[in-house]
Symmetry: C3
Subunit: 472 residues, 3 copies
């Protein structure tokens, strides 16, 4: 018996029939609303140039470290999957490895996205997906490759077909944003594609290119000012450049939630020390913490929403990093605490008019313990949607359960797909809508909110929250 | 369609019809049992003087930092809500702000209490509550104000109507407890109102009034002994004073769960250093930890149940604290660990005859990891009920799930409302009973306990546990 | 009305009728599969000598610290339960104490095992179990004692009747493993009983017998080499001795997950310092961390699966430890972090061919945050099944929910009973199968996996995973 998962109208909805019926009604309100994606990693060039997608492996496997890491864990070296530009095998051979590994993904978030893409984006039958494996690897490869060759599978057309209204990219502060401008000038394309200011390598003095980047940004945007003052000026100028080109947020992938307000001479001394290459690990954290404070100050001035993503030990396995580069599946979360770390920033900007600070976590324990109480008091703070390993059905249920009783529904960020995998965007947003419908349906079934309010809430979660939080 | 939440007999019960039917039966056993509230913050004067409640804002909004913090997060300054004695607007104007903010509370614990109070205490119709907002703010204000003017809404009458049998207040060690005595002499009032010994500012050397308080307590109760010895003697004497006036517990709002057994000369030296104003942050923690040890020793001697509430960063936002005072919505929890911190105390008193130590947490992770194992071995230790941000339906389900498999039902404290909001007491205890009925019903439905035992257990949770743990 | 729990075919299955029906089908596939127990604490001598079990108290109460600790918490001194070889009361009197305490176990994992053993192993009626207490203590004692005298209750017969295929013991590195050899030579007994290498006291320099053990192992197995080199050689040799006698794993009960790669001279210096009795607490952790690295190196060479059990504060209450010894109910977990601690080991061995590293935790927070991401990348890493306080229905549901979305089903260890209580083995494995069936049934009901894949997965969880992970 063939069982379609991705096409089942009740997928992800709760099993209890009464609750499911409520969830269906709630979902119906929002299932077809436009997609608003205020944070993600789709390259702007893809849409600017509207180039056809490459082969199935290059689209769905090699660049998706959620996918390759699990196949790697099962014993397949990453070069067999063409990770990081390696090409020891051809795309079709790598695809066969993926097909062989397909059962590993049962129950995972990635398995759910992939199955949804197979069925909904590429039109594979449930039967085909159910029998996907070494024996059918080639025919599935060919079927997808065939689709990718069609004009309807070009990025801009998919953008429209997916119902995307807003898509934010993530960009280097020195990016010219030409791709965004190009696209903005194309009158045949109605989608809003926004840049996002992401200055990590400019703020982290342990980054191998920090000194070089500081030189460049100061030279290009420092208004001729040198040293620490020029560096700050350059960051301010580039942020303004982004704002002028439609950016609504600045994103920060920091090590920890630590923030710090250094006095000017102290900050200058630390900057100088780092420039001389003499900074310690403690200096690194202090400088990053101080720059988070500075970024908040700039956000208060220029209005960019500040998003913070701490708590991941990047590139945990050095040998893999050296061979395949970053983002290859071994960034591992660790325990964090926001309460003390974020305080210096909130002392000065927590109630600043118009300042929006979205705090993310990979450590679920901070949801009920710290983020909900913080967002329940500070007008600036919003609880970031479950992110990375946590953007999956059960994890999102735990998140809603953890924060709602303390801070309700209005202090959360709205769904963030944070993805590089363009074709998974519809499935991700749809998942989020289904899970929120399920959570709300339970509260209705338990008589904790009224059904009419639940309908208003789910519309706000899907449409209102992201617009409000990200100033869209 | 109007949907009454607070009046629905199945509110908070599980959605699955079979489990709900079991939960209903369990609830029926305990829904109308008297309320035992062994820890809370209702002022004894309120009952001693039986003064009418002030206006709706002063009763339901301004003093309830669960409520004001969320309105503040939404952008309304606290002085618009008359927090901390500010009076920039009148009560009715503040009430309108509250009415406007009403949708923020959907899904929150506070929203549930408020709705219950509206319907059950003030008799508002579900329709009125559903349409509560700016347009109806004035009429609701008037309706509640009208009720508050009635003799049946005086505190003592409500105390009876709420079915309260025991209510503990929280009191300063130097409080004369006159209000308790007054009330005890009133033969027309049958309720038991007990004082609770709460010595935080006398034990925390960083408290701005510590030195002054130490002077006062030593002068008033030190039997003429000076210095550290007089200070200890005074604490012992005041505890005895409380015991003689009906106190059953001493409550401790400490920063962390650290306890420490200092040798006498070391403790004296630290005390002297603090008296000279030279104590460091480490000294502060050490002295508080040592005094927790001393408090346990005194509890073993005088029988007061020791309750410990650590893990909250008090007054996180300094500007708000300076303008509006403490308890204004920005106490933020952080991660704690009991296993090592509480050990010195338990080494000496963990098996002491008759000693009861109730350990609370705002960090949910310690429930399964530390508190259940500790309470599952030490005869003195009880797991405190979910507290503060955690006294809500989902949080309590998580708590029961986290502790029961390790330590069963008999090692938990019984429900603690810990509230300043007198009118929310019935809804809080009712909520707790409903959630425990739901949890037990699931265990019955999954054939993990028998239905007959579930009936015995819920009676014990609601009535037996608080009497046993708090020696009532 | 008598309610049988242990005999109910739906016990532990989800309450929702639709989900339960799916779970029943899944369970039917695996309920009667052989038991594979790759880690536990049943003594090999018991099976080698096939001696009858002693009295009910000595079998079910005194040695089971899950049971005695909760009775102790309720106020009964451990010597009343004949813990640690104490004999202040006779077995029957201790049994009466246990019978009196029976209601404490409602809702606990231990209560579930005991009830299952009563009904399934000893054939007591549900009525008898329901009415178990002081009044019936003697008759239940006699009924069980009668059974224990029967030949069908000898260990080897029960081993067969329980359907155990593989059972691993836990053994000292210098154990001759004679009991394993004896049993292996007995042709009438088909069960596989494997030794496990457990070198804790040889690696922990704070262990009171460390120096003596090092002397002994070096003398017996160091090939005449002295000092640190001889010590390493001896460990290698004894591991090989275990491998030759069927061992498949080496188990490590360490304080924390810290690992460390010391250079040879540094390790030698630390070893020498410890031999001189001069090591500090920091030295202790460093040496243990370094030896974890060495154990991994040896595992890569000799193929023993490496299992790591950190995060328990052993013997929390000194007075109890001194009177009753270790494993008497007061080992209390604390917060741990794997991400940084395990990194040095994984840097060098995380992708080593054939190396299997099973990481356990008593701190649930690391499941989603650290273990699932680690096992989702490193081919060597498997997430250990919920262990100790966490091997219970709700805890296992939380575990599956926490890890599956990130790492699927194939990167977990398979169920580990880890028990000393031989007669509880069937109930524990049966519990695990029921909980996994329930979890999978929910995913099917929510259309997240197909029913046919769920059937394949549960067979793999019960049978495939333990064989694969433990190289059976």
């Amino acid at each position: 018996m063939t069982e379609s998962i991705a096409a089942n109208p009740d997928r992800l909805l709760p099993a209890d029939p009464g609750t499911r019926a409520i969830a269906r009604e709630l979902l119906a309100d929002v299932e077809n609303l436009p997609i608003i994606s205020p944070h993600g990693h789709v390259p702007a060039e893809m849409l600017a140039e509207d180039t056809p997608f490459p082969d199935p492996t290059a689209l769905l496997v090699s660049p998706d470290h959620y996918v390759t890491r699990l196949i790697h864990a099962n014993g397949t070296p990453l070069d067999q999957l063409r990770v990081g530009g390696t090409a020891e095998v051809d795309s079709r051979t790598a695809w066969r490895k993926f097909a062989e590994a397909w059962p590993l993904f049962d129950g995972t978030a990635s398995g759910y996205w992939l199955r949804s893409e197979f069925e909904h984006v590429f039109g594979l039958s449930a039967e085909t997906v159910d029998s996907f494996g070494v024996d059918t690897a080639d025919s599935v490869y060919d079927a997808i490759a065939g689709k990718l060759a069609e004009p309807s599978f070009r990025p801009r057309q998919l953008f429209k077909d997916f119902g995307i209204e807003v898509l934010a990219t993530t960009d280097d502060p020195l990016d010219s944003l030409e791709a965004h401008t190009l696209r903005a000038k194309d009158e045949t394309f109605a989608g809003r594609v926004l840049p996002t200011f992401r200055p990590d390598p400019y703020l982290n003095i342990a980054h191998p290119e920090w000194a070089e980047r500081v030189d460049r940004i100061t030279a290009e945007a420092g208004d001729g000012v040198e040293g620490y003052a020029g560096y700050l000026r350059a960051l301010e100028n580039r942020r303004r450049y982004f704002v002028e080109r439609g950016a609504v947020s600045a994103d920060h992938g920091v090590r920890t939630p630590l923030t710090l307000k250094l006095e000017r001479p102290e900050a200058e001394a630390l900057f100088a020390k780092a420039r001389r290459g003499e900074a310690t690990a403690a200096d690194r954290d202090a400088f990053e913490g101080h720059m988070m404070y500075e970024m908040a100050r700039m956000s208060v001035e220029d209005g960019l929403v500040m998003t913070v993503h701490p708590g991941s030990f990047r590139n945990h396995h050095t040998a893999t990093f050296e061979k395949f580069g970053a983002d290859t599946g071994h960034d591992i979360p660790f325990a964090i605490g926001y309460t003390e770390g974020i305080r210096p920033l909130l002392q000065d900007f927590g109630t600043a008019k118009g300042f929006h600070l979205v705090l993310f976590t990979l450590d679920e324990t901070v949801f009920s313990r710290e983020l909900a109480p913080l967002a329940g008091f500070y007008p600036s703070v919003y609880v970031g949607a479950p992110w990375w390993f946590l953007d999956a059905p059960d994890s999102i249920q735990r998140f809603r359960s953890a924060v709602t009783e303390t801070t309700g529904f209005t202090r959360t960020s709205g769904f963030i797909d944070d993805t590089r995998a363009f074709c998974s965007i519809p499935a991700r947003h749809n998942m989020s809508r289904r899970v929120d419908a399920s959570f709300l349906a339970r509260l209705v079934a338990e008589h904790r909110i009224t059904e009419s309010r639940a309908h208003e809430i789910i519309r706000d979660l899907v449409d209102g929250s992201p617009r409000r939080v990200f100033k869209l």
